[in-house]
Symmetry: C2
Subunit: 388 residues, 2 copies
């Protein structure tokens, strides 16, 4: 009997998550020309509800075009299934006679796969294919989606720095990232010298203090007449609370369906604007969130990232053939290689930015941090040095 594969995408879309889908579909078709390949719409929800795309109806040229397109072509979900939900998903998989389920996503997605795998008891191969702009999956050197997002952030901060050389002031750019600072750190990937922005970097791995921030900005202004700041939306204060929590009254804090504080609203922008207006009165300051641009701007899809994301999809099929697991991107002798690791090694765990990526006493990257980022996100543009 021909095999049945189910594929889905979970969590936030990225610039290259569709390459992983395209890679998996192409590899299944290559290995098993008779296989049935079903795409579940909106993550596991489509399996629960029986809502599928049949890839045999999709011509290869459309799949190639989808691979080049940002966003999650199958739709995504933020659902984190509990045991009861997982039971419905398992029933759904059994109903279509699935031999393997490939779920492309971050550590929550790996967690779902582990629950399903434990419940299914070996009858179905559960595969987690990595994707996250946060770069926060353990066992991975880096994750598909991070390089494109990081390149956007590096280019954005280089551009804003040039803008603020022309019209000086303070710029605070808020970058996605709840627990890991890699993407915010990427803002500094193309700094050539001390004078280049971002001059200050604040990540969730280091406690944030408003008075210290104001001091940092003030001394940067003294030196360079402008101050460019990259800050993670997930920065926390000394007491371990999200910065936004210490700045916004408790009854005004927004929370999502999981009870997590919403970091993405304007509260944090507003809080930074107020802190700057109070701490440095009269100083031109602009606070912007980079928002969704890093994770899917169509004009900044990195080729290496794109290729690796495709390869991760290909390797996910191999992983299914070996009974399941998580696909990990590791680096050996300077080359990215794919490895099969246990779902339990990745599920629910967060990889933080190593402490030695930052200088101990300054909010700036260390040589180790720069080396890591330069390897993944090499400088892309040759700029002409301004006269100011």
């Amino acid at each position: 009997m021909p095999r049945t594969f189910v594929i889905a995408q979970g969590g936030g879309p990225t610039a290259v998550i569709n390459q992983t889908l395209a890679g998996a579909v192409a590899e299944i078709e290559r290995r098993y020309p008779d296989a049935r390949i079903l795409g579940s719409r909106h993550g596991v929800r489509g399996i629960r509800d029986g809502d599928y795309v049949d890839f045999s109806d999709v011509p290869p040229e459309r799949m190639r075009a989808i691979g080049r397109t940002p966003g999650a072509a199958l739709g995504s979900t933020r659902d984190k299934p509990d045991a009861a939900y997982c039971e419905l998903v398992l029933k759904g998989l059994q109903k279509v006679g699935a031999d393997a389920f490939i779920y492309i996503g971050g550590n929550d997605t790996a967690g779902t796969q582990q629950i399903l795998s434990d419940a299914a008891g070996g009858a179905i191969a559960f595969v987690h294919a990595p994707k996250t702009i946060d770069n926060d999956l353990v066992e991975n050197d880096h994750t598909p989606g991070f390089i494109s997002a990081g390149e956007f952030v590096a280019g954005a901060f280089r551009s804003v720095d040039l803008d603020f050389r022309a019209l000086p002031g303070v710029y605070v750019g808020i970058v996605m990232g709840r627990h890991a600072g890699f993407l915010t750190a990427a803002a500094a990937a193309w700094r050539d010298d001390e004078d280049d922005g971002p001059h200050l970097i604040y990540v969730p791995e280091r406690p944030f203090s408003v008075p210290r921030f104001i001091d940092d900005v003030r001394s940067t202004l003294d030196k360079y007449k402008r101050c460019i700041v990259a800050v993670s939306e997930g920065v926390t204060t000394e007491d371990g609370r999200a910065l936004v929590e210490s700045l916004v009254p408790a009854d005004k804090l927004e929370r999502d369906a999981h009870g997590n504080i919403k970091l993405s609203g304007s509260d944090l922008n507003m809080a930074f604007e107020r802190a700057l207006a109070e701490g440095l009165p009269g100083k031109r300051a602009r606070v912007d969130a980079l928002g969704y641009m890093p994770r899917g701007y169509i004009g900044a899809i990195n080729e290496t990232d794109s290729r690796e994301a495709y390869e991760a999809g290909v390797f996910a099929v191999d992983t299914a053939d070996h009974g399941g697991g998580s696909v990990a991107l590791q680096v050996e002798n300077g080359k990215t290689v794919m490895r099969r690791v246990a779902l339990s090694a990745v599920a629910g765990k967060t990889r933080h930015m190593p402490d030695d990526f930052l200088l101990p006493d300054a909010n700036q990257l260390s040589a180790a941090g720069m080396a890591y980022l330069n390897r993944l996100i090499p400088e892309k543009y040759q700029i002409g040095r301004p006269f100011v």
Copy 2:
């Protein structure tokens, strides 16, 4: 005696304003190999203060690299000189023996040139070379800087639309533009069909009403399950006040040095978030300002824009040789041509988006609006249609 040219840059930087500088410098060197070319730092302020770059010290390869670099390499200024300030500038120009002053900027910059020209009485040629992402200069079909900015905005909204297909909700993207809606309208330049975002466009040329906005969003959600909105920071309510003015208490409104209400803060984001939370409770909504990215993102410099900006610099030298004036980009037989027009024709005037660029009864582009944008900003990416 060899001629002396002074060049400066004013107003907000763009992705290509340095090409105009590079074009002017190269053309002066070609026409007058002995000429002295001085770059004034931070607009007219450098002339007032005697702060110059001497371009004879700058090698051509650096000028070419600067041309490819966003931001204003000479620095810029928001100063709008009054008569007394202009007198100091005129003295500064006389002190260096200037034969011509080329000032690259928007309509305020043209205004400064007119005051100076009137005061100087013919002894110096005053030239305005156009630049503005707002595309709001009269006499011009379009302005250098607009195409790159528009292409960024078109790509940003295409990307966000793909993101929200995957994870549905409401997205409001706030785009720069105090008086003219061209750049916000560019968000829809690559819409292929009804279902594509942005579904709603709000520009300063049409009065904005919060209740109508909520109704528009609700009916879009009913149709497409998501709603992508592009809104100019300068939208005004029926009474002619800036939207932010009607939403924020008067004592909390921020104003700039000229007394203009600051449109760029988080107040407007917050106001939209609140309006959506009240009007569509429980609905996932995200409000972002695109911020400074459109005007200088290094990864989105359009080649046509770049070339035209350079040509505007070249033509500015010709305009100086004809006694001064404003360089206008006009279109004849489908080709962009440079024309010399009077400073008074451009100075202080604002070109609005033609009313027939929008549909009369919907917040969307008309065929005329689409034709204009498609001509300037042709579709750049071939996307694969998602399955959701």
